[in-house]
């Protein structure tokens, strides 16, 4: 009931809000003194609150980086936890300024929702998790299985395509939140739990005996996850887009949270341009000259954020893989800051 009423309120807000889409987001955020950022309801590594109520995760770091460049304070963020099906309505209605909630970039979402993706925070793909005791080694052995899934996701459609494409039967049980789906999987209602592979590793940590479950090798889809902003505000679109690009460029140039102050003294032209000691690239974005410095001081470069939240330095322990930089065997690539 709560979800329904939320959806109704958001729909009503979308109907009533007067010209909310005009190019005012930067000013609104500055006036408010706080960035409103839509995140998940708790996905370890991406966005989840700890026992003290502090949000952490790679999606959260993107929000903090935006708050750092706009408000000069990475803590001035209001995190709005959203279910998969409420997230777009919250963005459309103006309740949040940016949606950074492990959301897959697809053409229909980029066009019909009145919102734009600004980049890719994490290259993911959909996988399956099963109990080891079932002795299943491949997703192609899942004929007649019951599958638990979170409703309102691309996952649900990929699942349908995969089973249909391989002429297999299955039963889908779709839950409103990821926690409900995992609980049903753990109780044995389903044989299989499906989600983005990163989500599977994150959810596995929450199970009573993580070692009793395996993630099958098949990745059945492309899931580039990234932040989203509303249509109609190109300045804000640029700021969110270049915040992520700056994090990736910082890693490429070897600028880290620790060495950023020494790097400021560097006389390499590229370094001076990026860190704002030369030129006014930040001001062209509507920000300050030291915007990249603020980002790196707040959350570190992309690689640091990755390792801290989902990489080998985190409980998830996911390898960089395709998320490595383009010159280190991955596909993370940001246009140059010049």
């Amino acid at each position: 009931m709560k979800r329904v009423s939320l959806a109704v309120i958001l729909a009503a807000a979308a109907a009533l809000s007067v010209q909310s889409a005009s190019a005012q987001t930067l000013k609104t955020v500055k006036d408010r003194g706080q960035l409103s950022c839509g995140v998940s309801q708790g996905l370890p590594g991406f966005s989840s609150p700890d026992d003290k109520g502090n949000w952490t995760g790679i999606d959260v770091d993107v929000c903090r980086a935006i708050a750092a460049v706009v408000l000069d304070d990475p803590t001035k963020v209001k995190f709005v936890p959203l279910s998969a099906k409420d997230r777009f309505t919250a963005l459309q209605s103006g309740e949040i300024d940016v949606l950074s909630r492990n959301t897959t970039w697809t053409v229909s979402r980029d066009t019909s929702l009145g919102a734009n993706f600004t980049g890719v925070t994490y290259y993911d793909g959909q996988g399956f998790m099963v109990k080891k005791s079932l002795k299943v080694n491949s997703a192609l052995e899942l004929n007649s299985a019951s599958v638990c899934v979170q409703t309102g996701t691309t996952t649900e459609q990929n699942l349908a395509d995969f089973f249909k494409g391989n002429n297999m039967k299955y039963e889908v049980i779709a839950f409103g939140s990821i926690d409900e789906a995992v609980k049903a999987y753990e109780s044995g209602r389903c044989d299989v739990f499906t989600d983005d592979a990163s989500g599977l590793y994150a959810s596995r940590l929450k199970l009573a005996n993580p070692a009793d479950h395996i993630v099958l090798p098949e990745i059945i889809s492309k899931e580039p996850l990234g932040p989203m902003v509303r249509h109609g505000d190109d300045q804000w679109f640029d700021i969110v887009k270049w915040t992520l690009f700056a994090m990736i460029n910082a890693e490429e140039l070897g600028i880290t949270q620790k060495n950023v102050d020494t790097m400021l003294k560097s006389d390499k032209p590229e370094m001076k341009r990026v860190l704002g000691t030369d030129g006014n690239l930040g001001e062209q974005l509507g920000l300050t000259k030291d915007w990249v410095v603020r980002i790196v001081k707040a959350v570190g470069n992309y690689g640091e954020a990755f390792e801290r939240n989902v990489g080998t330095g985190s409980p998830l322990g996911i390898a960089r893989g395709v998320n490595n930089l383009w010159n280190k065997g991955g596909i993370q690539y940001a246009p140059p800051i010049r």
Partner: protein, 401 residues
Amino acid sequence: MSIAPRKPPLQFALRLKRALGGKTGWNGLAAQIAFAAILAWIAYEIVANARTNLETQHIASGFGFLNYNAGFDVNLSLIAYNNSDTYWRVFFVGLLNTILVSVIGIVFATVIGFVVALCRLSPNWLLSRIGGIYVEIIRNLPVLFQILFWYLAVLAALPAPRQSISIFGMFFLNNRGLIVPQPVSEPGLYPFLAALAVGIVAALGLRHYARRALFQRGQMIRIWPYVLVGLVGLPLVSVLIFGGPLKFELPQLKGFNFAGGARIIPEFVALTVALSTYTAAFIAEIVRAGVMSVHKGQMEAGSSLGLSRAATLRLIVVPQAMRVIVPPLTSQYLNLTKNSSLAVAIGYPDLVSVFAGTAVSQTGQAIEIIAMTMGVYLLLSLTTSALMSVYGWRINRSMAA
């Protein structure tokens, strides 16, 4: 010699004034027109504003999406559905699932509610206490909590498919639901149904005849042997001649789940049980209030005529109590229908879950979909109210007669 009553002169303008302006006359009419105009203006502003905003933000609008492929599956559907069907079909799948759980929930809630109320009114100390405890416990716990309790605590505790509880090797109970043999029609089905229909019609005719004989001539006719022959004998003869009407396909464990057989999914069971037991607690109190509203003398009159307690209740008290019971009963039925939207918590694919949930997030057209969903609930509720009004009207008429 009679004088025709004098008709008042027809004053059309006066009548119109009365009808439109009530007692306040033309001033009232002007106020009403102004009020209607303001309402219309507000409605127009909302629609126009929403339309402009959607256009400036390039959010898709309109109902064209209903003809697109949905591309996701639903695990319970009363009509044929697969993932290449349209959103229209998803809408009807969800709607039928909502109606299914509401109708079955209403039936069970009514039966349980009446039984609990009669327990509570019973002179038996134990029965009345059990009735009282049931009402107090169930009524005072949140219904979402009860749905989750049935789903996660009771039904999830059932064994996995490979360790199913088998009942005669035909029924299997596990955490995927209750699997029952699926009836498959045989050539003997139509003669069987025809024989059964003839039997039922004959039995009804006999009952009508016997009642007339009883009321008009005071004659008691024993009809049950003939009814038995009609209802059991005729179909039996049809089976002997044309063969059995149905064959049952037995479920068999294959891979992860049972293949063959029909399955009642646990989400449906949990939702129906929780909603009907919860609503039953309220219905029990309504029924109790209705029965108490009938004067005690009616019960005593029944006993003095030599009727048993059960017969007095059935023939004298409950029919009078129904007049008081029906209006609040209707609102409980409406509550049950609306509460069925809590299904999304346990993955039962009702209208809110598949249409106002998955479809909203796939298409992003929240305004259209939420409006359609609200319209459906409004329609379902108004239909229920209308049916109950007709029923209440019939009771009142029969009381008056």
